[in-house]
């Protein structure tokens, strides 16, 4: 059964319940169905506009240091310097936990990635990155949900999970998705008896959104409870540490490792809006990157053999101005970097259409110009992990050009 028809079947089940049948068995039957390909896509959204020019600084670009007199990272080899990746680019030293992934070629970096026609407003830029339709506000669902709707993936309550308090815009839509702050907080209130009662109450709900959400909820709760998912310890000596992003990725790893059929996971991380006092090898941005790098490295290690079937995309809504502002920070800009990690990635490379920071190359004479459309990278990832062939419904009006990730 496709996701689309299943959703409608469940809606129908709610109506049936009103006539006296019990939908509980249906959820259990669906939850018990077998996972499919076993591939997982994990999307990490950095909210606030992360500064690609400090995350992967173009230390080989002569204009870089001039644009950022107080916040440019020191050259590779110097004290606190960036880590050399190739002739142009280096890695922020706080991301050093990712170096082993770079070396074994499961980390690729896309530089100068952005969404054409987007804006410098957080609100709008995030909205467009998540709807997948830049410039078009009326799109009701998210690109990632549309992708799930069209993939013949595994059925089950944990097929699509967001580890964050509310469902992100990119996962809103007809395909069922579960949002939770953490796995540990996701358990049946009132025990099994309470579950049975609420299951029935929600199956009868008049409000459609509450009814369908209720059916999804009780289905997932039964599965999480029986598998004791939240207690699964990390494997292979992975150490996550206490950062919120680390705890979230650990929960994603638990879902992948316990084979509950996770196909898509999303989470996010704030603190990237560095208008004032951005810092260099230490400071505000470095602290965020240390948390992110440590969490991703632990996640890769924890997954062990499942890393080969997993692909992580790290993205943000926009980059920041090429030049630093008057407060040793940067303002809202245009292109930034994306990180793509996982077993199937042809990594160890910086790809994308970086054109440099010379004034003539900047967008509106202030921002790193977009060299690669974010949607190209997302579409290639969706193709690989969800095994889709036709992207026209995922990103309407967008035709991907030459492959970015190869």
């Amino acid at each position: 059964m496709s996701a689309f028809s299943r959703r409608h079947f469940l809606r129908g089940a709610g109506a049936l319940a009103a006539l006296g049948s019990v939908p509980g068995f249906l959820g259990r039957a669906l939850a018990a169905s077998v996972p499919g390909s076993g591939k997982t896509l994990v999307l990490v959204f950095l909210r606030g506009g992360a500064d690609g020019l400090s995350i992967v600084p173009p230390v080989g670009d002569p204009a870089y240091r001039a644009a950022r007199p107080t916040i440019a990272l020191a050259a590779p080899g110097k004290d606190g310097g960036a880590i050399r990746l190739d002739d142009v680019f280096a890695l922020h030293p706080a991301l050093s936990p990712l170096l082993p992934l770079w070396s074994d070629r499961t980390l690729a970096i896309v530089h100068a990635a952005g969404l054409p026609g987007a804006t410098r407003s957080h609100f709008d830029a995030q909205d467009f990155c998540e709807s997948g339709t830049p410039g078009l506000k009326s799109t009701a669902d998210g690109w990632l949900n549309r992708a799930v709707q069209r993939s013949g993936g595994p059925e089950g309550a944990f097929r699509v999970v967001a580890i964050q308090p509310t469902l992100p815009r990119m996962l809103v839509g007809d395909a069922p998705a579960v949002a939770m702050s953490s796995l540990g907080q996701f358990r049946m209130p009132g025990g099994a008896a309470g579950g049975t009662a609420f299951d029935a109450l929600y199956a009868q709900a008049v409000d459609t959104a509450l009814r369908t959400t209720g059916i999804e909820t009780f289905e997932a709760l039964r599965e999480a409870g029986s598998a004791k998912l939240a207690q699964l310890p990390p494997a292979n000596g992975a150490e996550y540490g206490g950062a919120p992003i680390a705890r979230r990725l650990q929960d994603v790893a638990r879902l992948i490792r316990s084979g509950v059929g996770l196909q898509v996971a999303a989470t996010d991380m704030g603190g990237w809006d560095t208008h004032v006092g951005e810092g260099t090898e230490k400071g505000q941005l470095a602290s965020r990157l240390a948390e992110l790098g440590g969490a991703l490295a632990a996640f890769a290690r924890d997954l062990g053999p499942r890393w080969a079937d997993t692909r992580v995309v790290v993205m943000t809504e926009f980059g920041r101005t090429a030049r630093e502002n008057g407060n040793r920070g940067t303002d809202h800009g245009t292109a930034s970097v994306m990180l793509v990690l996982g077993g199937g990635v042809r990594g160890g490379r910086v790809v994308g259409g970086y054109r440099g920071l010379a004034k003539s190359e900047l967008f509106e004479e202030r921002d790193l110009a977009i060299g690669t459309d974010v949607r190209s990278v997302l579409w290639e990832t969706v193709q690989a992990q969800l095994e889709l062939r036709d992207g026209s419904r995922v990103f309407p009006g967008f035709s991907p050009g030459t492959r970015v990730l190869g």
Binding site: V178, G194, L210, E216, G270, N327
Partner: protein, 541 residues
């Protein structure tokens, strides 16, 4: 129970709930000088009208308020709520007296609730090079836990929850929620932790019923907003600040002022307007943010050149008045009227308000020079507000859900940690919304499995007395189980139960079967209330 007064209130609540109506303790209001609203005719019963009004203008029906609206009639009750100064609220005022931080200025708050590190330094304890664990060990016994900066936020949250649950000025409390959210700042951002309480008091609460321009101006001047959106650090290009080096323009506040506070994202402005507005506001700053925290204009930092905003020339040399001119332009702009009208309609009527309603309310806003009371009035008098399509059409926010649960039973809350944590689990940690957009005004983002679990869990814990600091009296359970279920459901959901729902509830309560001696089991009141608060019908308003 610590407070004998509180015990009395609770007992009164008990009596009300058990007799299925009863006499609420409220004093009859003074309503001599109110001008009742002109409401469209509806076919709803008096109770249905009162429930709808209390679901939207208040934090849900409480037994006392329900009776009051029914007695006064919605037209008079709403008019009375539009004049909160006429509403006696001494009981809540007495409870808020427990929170000294609520009346302090930012400077007083910084002094009274200093950072732990600062306290340690003052006592000659060095924390340099120590791990967080070592620091904690050093600070125990040195720092008074109730005089740390976090106490400012804790008291503000508690006050908000107490007021939402128990204040008689219910519309005022809903409007605090709306306008704080519209002009959101996050207490998590640096010095805002001390400024957020004065911000709510001075910028938001003081201007809920006046003109939009006054509200906008109070927000624009407030250090909490100047800090949150970085305007305090924005200067003319190339300005050399003493001790801070070369500074320059920061567009953050200017952009959100246009996009989120006034015109709306499609309101017809350009990137160039953003930049020009930012230039106008250069020099609007803060006197010592981590010490004094009051507004201060810095003429040296101001861009003295001429500017052009939305096609209007702002002549050179205007100084601080440049910003005021921009606020004048924005507050009277038709895009602002529509943007504000639409958001208010989303809050009070439905998630997708009819364009005709938005236009009508926007015209009132424009015609009255942005008179907020007139604008609210137009909204509450509209046939759309009183339409069947609007009834129970919105999903409660976590704040509305939790507070309405307390109110439904005539309960009381101290607004302390368990309540605050429950809200965070539902996705709404108060005063900590990170983005300038604030919390979503529409239902969809609040309806997801994680939040639903948190809501159901909250209802069960509240009903069984496991939510420390928040208490609700349980209804009487004497009588036949189906009568108890019907009566209690009626008191909490204010609508008759469907046959299917009733049998689900009776089955869950285990009272369908008869005991061996022929007696029927008694209904577990806590369980019944928990089921009803978690039911889908209680998530709607």
């Amino acid at each position: 129970m610590r407070d004998p007064l509180l015990a009395l209130v609770l007992l009164a609540g008990c009596a009300t709930a058990s007799s299925g109506g009863g006499t609420p303790g409220a004093v009859a209001p003074r309503t001599g000088n109110v001008d009742p609203l002109h409401l469209p005719a509806v076919s709803w019963s008096g109770e249905e009208q009162a429930v709808h009004v209390l679901n939207r203008l208040a934090y849900g029906p409480s037994p006392a308020d329900l009776q009051q609206v029914e007695q006064m009639g919605p037209a008079t009750w709403i008019a009375w709520q539009l004049r909160p100064a006429d509403i006696e609220d001494a009981a809540v005022d007495r409870r808020l007296a427990d929170f000294p931080s609520l009346s302090m200025s930012t400077a007083e708050l910084v002094a009274a609730y200093p950072r732990a590190k600062k306290v340690a330094e003052a006592k000659g304890i060095s924390l340099a090079g120590k791990s967080p664990e070592q620091m904690r060990a050093e600070l125990v016994g040195v720092v008074e836990p109730f005089h740390l900066p976090r106490q400012v936020g804790a008291e503000l949250v508690a006050a908000r929850l107490i007021r939402a649950a128990e204040s008689r000025r219910q519309l005022q409390e809903q409007l605090v929620d709306f306008w704080f959210n519209h002009f959101n700042v996050s207490a998590d951002k640096g010095a805002v932790r001390w400024m957020v309480s004065p911000y709510e008091r001075e910028a938001i609460r003081a201007h809920l019923f006046g003109s939009f321009r006054e509200l906008l101006g109070a927000v624009a001047h407030h250090p909490a907003m100047l800090f949150y959106l970085d305007n305090w650090a924005s200067t003319r290009e190339g300005f050399n600040a003493p001790r801070r080096g070369r500074l320059g323009l920061n567009e953050n506040y200017a952009r959100e002022l246009l996009e989120l506070h006034t015109l709306g994202v499609d309101g017809g402005y350009t990137q160039q307007d953003v930049r020009e507005v930012a230039r106008c506001f250069t020099g609007w700053g803060i006197r010592k943010p981590n010490e004094d925290g009051s507004f201060e204009f810095h003429p040296q930092a101001h861009d003295r050149g001429s500017k052009r905003v939305l096609g209007t020339e702002i002549a050179a040399g205007g100084g601080m008045e440049d910003g005021e001119r921009v606020l004048d332009l924005l507050a009277s702009h038709p895009s602002t009227a529509r943007f504000v009208a639409r958001k208010l309609a989303q809050k009070f009527v439905m998630d997708s308000p009819p364009p005709a309603l938005v236009e009508r309310v926007a015209q009132v806003f424009l015609r009255t020079g942005g008179d907020l009371t007139a604008t609210y009035r137009a909204l509450f008098e509209s046939p759309e507000f009183w339409s069947d399509a609007a009834r129970a059409a919105k999903v409660k926010t976590p704040l509305e859900f939790t507070v309405s649960a307390v109110r439904a039973l005539g309960g009381t809350t101290a607004g302390d940690v368990p309540m605050v944590q429950a809200l965070a689990r539902m996705g709404q940690p108060l005063y900590r919304a990170q983005p300038p957009t604030g919390w979503p005004e529409v239902s969809q983002p609040w309806v997801n499995p994680g939040a639903l679990v948190a809501r159901i869990d909250f209802g069960l814990r509240l009903a069984s007395g496991r939510l420390t600091g928040t208490e609700v009296p349980l209804p009487a359970v004497d009588g036949a189980p189906d009568a108890v279920v019907d009566r209690t459901a009626r008191a909490i959901l204010h609508r008759p139960l469907g046959e299917q729902t009733r049998s689900t509830l009776l089955a869950a309560l285990g009272v369908s079967e008869v005991m061996p001696d022929g007696e029927q089991r008694r209904v577990d009141g806590a369980k019944l209330v928990g089921l009803l608060l978690g039911a889908p019908e209680f998530q709607n308003q």
